[in-house]
Amino acid sequence: MKEKMTIVLGLGIVILVIITLGFYLIANETIEFFEIASILIIVVLVSSSSYIIWDRVKNLKAGLPTQDERVKIAGYKAGYYGFIAAIWSAVGSNLGHIMLFDQELRGGLVTAAVVLISGLVFMGSFLYFSRKG
């Protein structure tokens, strides 16, 4: 029951993110380079989340657990890398912007960079560790 709830919740979030992204794209007439990069990261995150959900559904249908000790360890490792990425992106995004454009990055954009980069690192390392073994 808990496993099914997790899958339904994950699917709901994925659908909501896609709808939000759709509204954002319709509302914006011009899209800047940084926005394209953010949208691409979101698309990667949504696709990888969908893949993980599909994989869990496949296991559930086969009568196997969606998570086991190996996947949990992969999640812990990925969480660690995601956390490190969050810290470095908080420092690095602002520092990089100052070095490149000689001005500080707005607070909201730093938050966006932290969320997107740490999310990307978490997802990438989770998929890597759960596939590599």
């Binding site: 296991n59 086969a62 009568g63 196997l64 657990p65 969606t66 998570q67 086991d68 000790e69 190996r70 996947v71 759960s130 590599k132 073994g133």
Partner: protein, 66 residues
């Protein structure tokens, strides 16, 4: 670490999926244990040994200690 899981599975005519269902893990976990890419917890190693009607010592070969 090497394992003899594949050999014991063949003995009892079990697929990786059958064994995974019996011990409550994903099929890939059995695959990675067989390949020596993942070291299972003592609890899981015990469960696998019980399902394959053998002991942990028989199933897992710790080459470093030989």
């Amino acid at each position: 670490m090497r394992t003899r899981i594949k050999e014991f599975r063949a003995k009892y005519d079990l697929t990786q999926e059958d064994l995974a269902k019996k011990v409550g893990v994903r099929r890939e976990t059995i695959l990675f244990i067989e390949k020596g890419k993942y070291n299972p917890s003592l609890n899981l190693a015990h469960k696998i040994a019980m399902e394959l009607k053998t002991t942990i010592d028989e199933l897992f070969i710790f080459e470093d200690f030989i």
